[in-house]
């Protein structure tokens, strides 16, 4: 798990951030805050999008250096699309996570970005993978990352129960993000959530259906119990 994104060492715009992903039966919820900072004291964007759709049913959320993270996700998107065309079927979430991991590991000296990859595929259903800055790839039922995650490890460990429903997972994600944004100076803005599941019988239908909901929760709404 990403413990710290070293903001002072990241040159340029940094995503000191809180990101998380939770698996439930039938899908995953992936979420992030929306703040981009420069030098730890200037908020360069209050509404930056850290949730990137790398394929129809696979999302990534970024942390670390914005330039590096965006470059990695663009390269991953390209490689994943190519892989999907070659295989002639939607890619596995594991494939997406592996591509990100390869890029992070091969260039670990020059890059500083960490990710959470989550999505749904036909083989294993909903999955959450954490790709750390150095290139470690770990699959977990839920994961938190970014600089703000240090403040919610206790909350996440206490509140997470395996087998939660979708609504419970949503509340868990929103509350966790709100608490982290409340304590971490480089996380803030609004909470972006993406809920990915298998929707519709025909796999070849418009993939937007799989993304059943994308919600935006105001940063000053209180965490509900």
């Amino acid at each position: 798990m990403n413990r710290h994104s070293f903001d002072s060492r990241v040159k340029g715009v940094s995503l000191g951030t809180t990101i998380l992903a939770v698996k439930f039966a039938g899908g995953v919820i992936i979420g992030s805050d929306s703040r981009a900072s420069m030098g730890g004291s200037y908020v360069s964007s209050k509404v930056i999008n850290k949730l990137v759709q790398v394929h129809d049913r696979i999302f990534c959320c970024m942390s670390g250096s914005l330039a590096d993270a965006q470059a990695i996700t663009r390269a991953a998107k390209f490689q994943l699309a190519f892989h999907s065309i070659q295989m002639d079927e939607p890619p596995l979430v594991m494939a997406a996570a592996s591509i990100m991991q390869e890029l992070c590991y091969q260039h670990k000296e020059e890059l500083s970005a960490g990710f959470i990859t989550a999505g749904w595929d036909r083989k294993k259903g909903p999955q959450v993978y954490s790709v750390s800055m150095g290139g470690m790839l770990v699959s977990q039922p839920f994961t938190i990352g970014g600089s703000g995650s240090t403040y919610i490890y206790g909350y996440a460990d206490a509140k997470y129960k395996p087998g939660m429903t979708r609504e419970e997972c949503q509340t868990f994600a929103v509350n966790a993000l709100a608490l982290a944004m409340g304590r971490d100076n480089v996380s803030g803005g609004v909470a972006h959530l993406a809920i990915i599941s298998e929707k519709g019988e025909d796999m070849k239908e418009d993939a937007d259906r799989a993304l059943s909901q994308s919600r935006c929760v105001m940063g000053n709404s209180k965490a509900k119990e």
Binding site: G12, V13, L66, A67, Q70, L103, Q106, H107
Partner: protein, 280 residues
């Protein structure tokens, strides 16, 4: 696969060749071996706003070289494509050249593919290039344009980060300009409102930042075309030369005239025949 552009096809993954070169250069210049020339910075205020029918971009016109104003009427809004313009802050040479390269590539692309370039394509090309150079190209850019998918405003940072936003200010004067934009920006403004908002934002930058000044340029881009207003507002402090500084020949009197013969000695004479093969 066939790509309709002239950029070299990217090898998969990243290319960090320039990282080693940069380290060598940086270490060299510390020991005084390679003295990097002081680049002319634009020390700028640039801003952009998306309004109802398109995009309004604005910029000041001062280019500084340390404390001296090197150019009072510098053009910071660069042409990229007929429907895309780019404001540049940072190192003047970098923003100029980067935008020129981008513009040539997009022109060739649109000739090859028969399509008008999209703003998002320009952003992608810029991101690739700036990321490859690891922040060594000091170009902070605001790209604005109108294409078949709508009106767009993007910012691209020198390290290769990008963000898509409805309003934006960059450069050393971006903090005061951002204050004006945050206060008065509304979605779907009309043209006059948008122009006055951008103009006021640049004006705030000029007033509160030493590196920005002189005139304000505006560029309005819509589906119908582009209106490049240069200057939109002239500085009231423009210094007008009070007198002519050209002197007539003969203004300076000649007091004495001395002619010295230079003795040249012919040392050697060689003749070389030229191979002028005339027609037979």
């Amino acid at each position: 696969m066939a790509l309709s552009c002239v950029l070299e096809p990217a090898l998969s993954g990243f290319n960090f060749e320039n990282s080693t070169r940069n380290i060598v250069l940086e270490n060299g210049s510390e020991e005084g071996k390679i003295k990097a020339p002081k680049p002319m910075k634009t020390g700028t205020t640039i801003a952009g706003v998306v309004y109802k029918d398109g995009v309004v971009l604005g910029a000041d016109t001062r280019a500084t070289s340390d404390e001296v104003v090197a150019d009072k009427m510098c053009a910071k809004i660069h042409y990229i494509a007929p429907n895309i313009y780019c404001c540049g802050a940072g190192t003047a040479a970098d923003t100029e050249k980067t935008t020129e390269i981008l513009s040539s590539n997009l022109t060739i692309f649109s000739m090859n593919s028969g399509r008008n370039p999209r703003v998002v394509m320009a952003v992608n090309i810029l991101q690739d290039m700036l990321f490859r150079y690891r922040g060594m190209i000091g170009a902070h850019l605001i790209l604005g344009g109108v294409d078949c998918t709508g009106s767009h405003l993007y910012t691209v940072g020198p390290y290769g980060s990008m963000d898509k936003v409805p309003y934006l200010a960059m450069g050393s004067g971006n903090l005061p300009a951002m204050g004006i934009l945050e206060d008065r920006f509304k979605a779907n403004m009309d043209l006059e409102e948008a122009k006055s908002l951008v103009s006021d934002a640049i004006h705030a930058g000029i007033m509160s930042d030493l590196g920005s000044g002189n005139n304000i340029d505006l560029c309005v881009i819509t589906k119908e075309g582009v209106d490049y207003i240069r200057p939109h507002k002239e500085s009231p402090f423009n210094y007008k030369r009070q007198a002519k500084y050209k002197y007539k020949p003969g203004t300076t009197p000649v007091l004495t005239k001395t002619v010295t013969q230079v003795e040249l000695e012919l040392l050697d004479e060689t003749v070389q025949m030229m191979e002028t093969a005339g027609s037979s």
